[in-house]
Symmetry: C3
Amino acid sequence: MYEVKIITKFSSAHQLRLYDGKYENLHGHNWGATVIVEAEELDAMGLGIDFVVLREKVDAILSKLDYQNINEVPPFDKLNPSAENIARWLFDRLNADIKTKTVRAKRVEIREMDECGAAYYE
Amino acid sequence: MYEVKIITKFSSAHQLRLYDGKYENLHGHNWGATVIVEAEELDAMGLGIDFVVLREKVDAILSKLDYQNINEVPPFDKLNPSAENIARWLFDRLNADIKTKTVRAKRVEIREMDECGAAYYE
Amino acid sequence: MYEVKIITKFSSAHQLRLYDGKYENLHGHNWGATVIVEAEELDAMGLGIDFVVLREKVDAILSKLDYQNINEVPPFDKLNPSAENIARWLFDRLNADIKTKTVRAKRVEIREMDECGAAYYE
């Protein structure tokens, strides 16, 4: 089995509703995203999925959040914008775009800082 | 499934008993630890486990080793303080503290340097 | 279960045959390699595999590529030198050297840059 991984960034504000502490305040991060796609086989060029194509697709999804207050971007106007929920949102949207019989999102990790993050996988 | 990850550090001396080479000498590292906790579901805030809580629990365990000679800290007075053994020790102690039906330690990695480390998982 | 991980580097040229774009041109990278070996049990010293031994074995294999045009190094004179194919090549060669009943290569990741890479595992 093969995996293709890209790392990208976005800069957004958020606040964690219901949190009893400073994370309830509106604040922001240079967020990091690591996206791993699983491919059961390679194409004629020897690629699972082209890095360039994968990065474009991921960045297109994340452009909804980049330089925004995530709490105002649906579904995060109703769903708490935790790293866990953002990871699942990106995972599901990416899979809706790329999933085939042999290629699929495997794991999406969203980091609020270099030292902490959350991931979603199935 | 969700994962929550934190990265932390500690600075400790150790020596690898029985090693035929320079690693048998007492030396030290800025050690790195990456701890991944698995959560089957999220709480009302959208969290698997709070980063802050997880970091506090991990750092509380690692405080036994930080700025110490690990070879003098039980169980490492009897058990060789390899990255493998330290990873398992941290994994087991963390799980004793946090494990529930839906939340558990998944993988603990201990790095002696940025370029080498060992992990334990079940 | 235990994992031992080392990270290493090599500097090589390559070109991706059949690619419709700039990656078909001969170019180069500071490549990164992350190698994870799985060990079911530890030796008397508490090691899955010695970092030093693992690094020597990986670097010995990668020395075939380091400061070379990978497209001229067999099997990459015939097999496209994608990160995916290089990862599998390293995985297979490493396993041919180290695999025992309880120790085996688990995952090899090859990065063309810090932000993109591909991995092979079984």
